[in-house]
């Protein structure tokens, strides 16, 4: 399952790029993230509580940054085990385009869940992924530049 979208951020590209590599900002943007600890410049360990309707499962896992092309693009990838609930993994290719002091953040994200959570939630994975991706980039834009102007998801 793939989803793409873009987000206009009222900030220069350098600033957006710094934020994309800042553990504290990422922690505040990842939906349900309780803890994000940087273990190397491109690696983090994470604790995320996923809440979808009646389901509430805690995932422990790792977040990795790769294919870094500062200050324009990288790939962010996360994978976590949720015990009996199953596993979840997802990633996004993110690239930034600067337009007259404003940055357009584009993303192409993929999400996958497996195990029990997938059986029970099969009909909801796409909607949930879209919602979580929207929450992540929406929160990110708000943190980097307090008033986002335009949000599009397709």
């Amino acid at each position: 399952m793939d989803l793409t979208g873009s987000q206009r951020i009222e900030a220069p590209r350098e600033e957006v790029w710094r934020a994309l590599n800042d553990a504290e900002i990422l922690r505040q943007c990842i939906p349900g993230c309780q803890e994000l600890v940087q273990t190397s410049p491109t690696e983090f360990t994470a604790k995320v509580v996923l809440k979808i309707g009646p389901v509430k499962a805690a995932f422990a896992g790792a977040v990795t940054l790769s294919d870094l092309e500062p200050p324009t693009a990288y790939r962010i990838y996360g994978e976590g085990q949720g015990g009996v609930a199953g596993f979840a993994k997802g990633g996004a290719k993110v690239w930034l385009i600067e337009e007259e002091g404003v940055t357009i953040l584009n993303y192409e994200a993929q999400a996958k869940v497996g195990g029990k959570i997938a059986q029970l939630g099969a009909r909801l994975i796409e909607g949930t992924s879209k919602k979580l991706a929207g929450e992540f980039f929406g929160a990110f834009a708000l943190l980097v530049a307090p008033a986002p102007v335009d949000v599009t998801t397709e």
Binding site: G53, P54, V55, K56, R123, I125, K131
Partner: protein, 268 residues
């Protein structure tokens, strides 16, 4: 199941005291989603607060131009109620179509709308009938209540007490159930009255129940299925899963809407 503490309070202040500041406590209404989730170990609340023993939360009554249904009223009771069948027959018919007998005999109106499952039936009725959801804190119009996938305007410790359905006009609900779960693959609740038309679609939208405004506008001009000729929802924005693609659901929702319109016309 993971262990939890079960409570069965007999008044609302005790419910508030138990909920207060405890993020890990969950309210239990009919339990037809929550208990299944607990059995699968997909949630582990510390406390379950059963609302079944709170007086006054179940029951139906006619108050002026409205039908008032308590949050803990079971689907089977709504379906069988002579009062609902007479005052709001489309709602009784909808309740009859929910899930299976076990779900209908345990599941409740309040539980269904608080969960806001994107395939649940009651949210479509609340939206199309412009119901008001009354909680222990405030009154919320249905249009503001259903926010997104499994998301409502409810605050963490807010309890739904009842739902007020305005009477008048004519309504019909048509649904195409998933043959196994009986969840709506697509459901359309159409209502017309006082020069207005409302169309609420469930089972189809990725963000849960929604009003189909293009169909409403077309039906306001001419309340006939033919007014919807060529009008369909965008399949890319609809739920896509192993049971059906977004395009399939978009088409089904259009068909259910046309059938509901025909059904209302047949009422005369």
């Amino acid at each position: 199941m993971f262990p939890f503490t079960y409570h069965r309070p007999t008044d609302l202040p005790t419910v508030h005291a138990l909920l207060g500041g405890n993020d890990e406590a969950k309210l239990l209404a009919g339990g037809q989603t929550l208990i299944a989730t607990l059995k699968q170990r997909l949630a582990s609340p510390s406390d379950l607060i059963d609302l079944a023993a709170i007086p006054g939360l179940a029951g139906m009554s006619r108050e002026g131009d409205t039908l008032v249904i308590g949050a803990m009223t079971r689907h089977a009771d709504v379906a069988a109620s002579p009062l609902v069948r007479e005052a709001l027959p489309a709602l009784a018919a909808l309740a009859e179509l929910i899930g299976d007998p076990a779900v209908r005999n345990r599941g409740t109106l309040g539980g269904s709308i608080a969960n806001n499952d994107p395939s649940a039936d009651y949210p479509a009725a609340c939206l199309a009938l412009d119901a008001t959801i009354v909680t222990d804190k405030r009154e919320i119009p249905a249009g503001d209540f259903f926010r997104d996938l499994f998301e409502t305007a409810l605050e963490p410790a807010e309890v739904i007490l009842k739902v007020i359905f305005p009477l008048g006009g004519q309504g019909a609900y048509e649904k195409f159930p998933n043959p196994a779960s009986r969840y709506a693959m697509a459901g359309a609740f159409v209502w017309r009255g006082m020069g207005k038309v409302r169309v609420a679609i469930t089972g189809t939208g990725q963000g849960g129940v929604f009003r189909w405004s293009e169909a409403e506008a077309a039906l306001m001009t001419d309340f006939d299925p033919s007014a919807l000729d060529g009008l369909w929802l965008d399949g890319d924005a609809m739920i896509s899963d192993i049971h059906g693609t977004g395009a399939y659901r978009a088409h089904l929702a259009g068909v259910m809407t046309r059938r509901a319109v025909s059904r209302i016309l047949a009422l005369g």
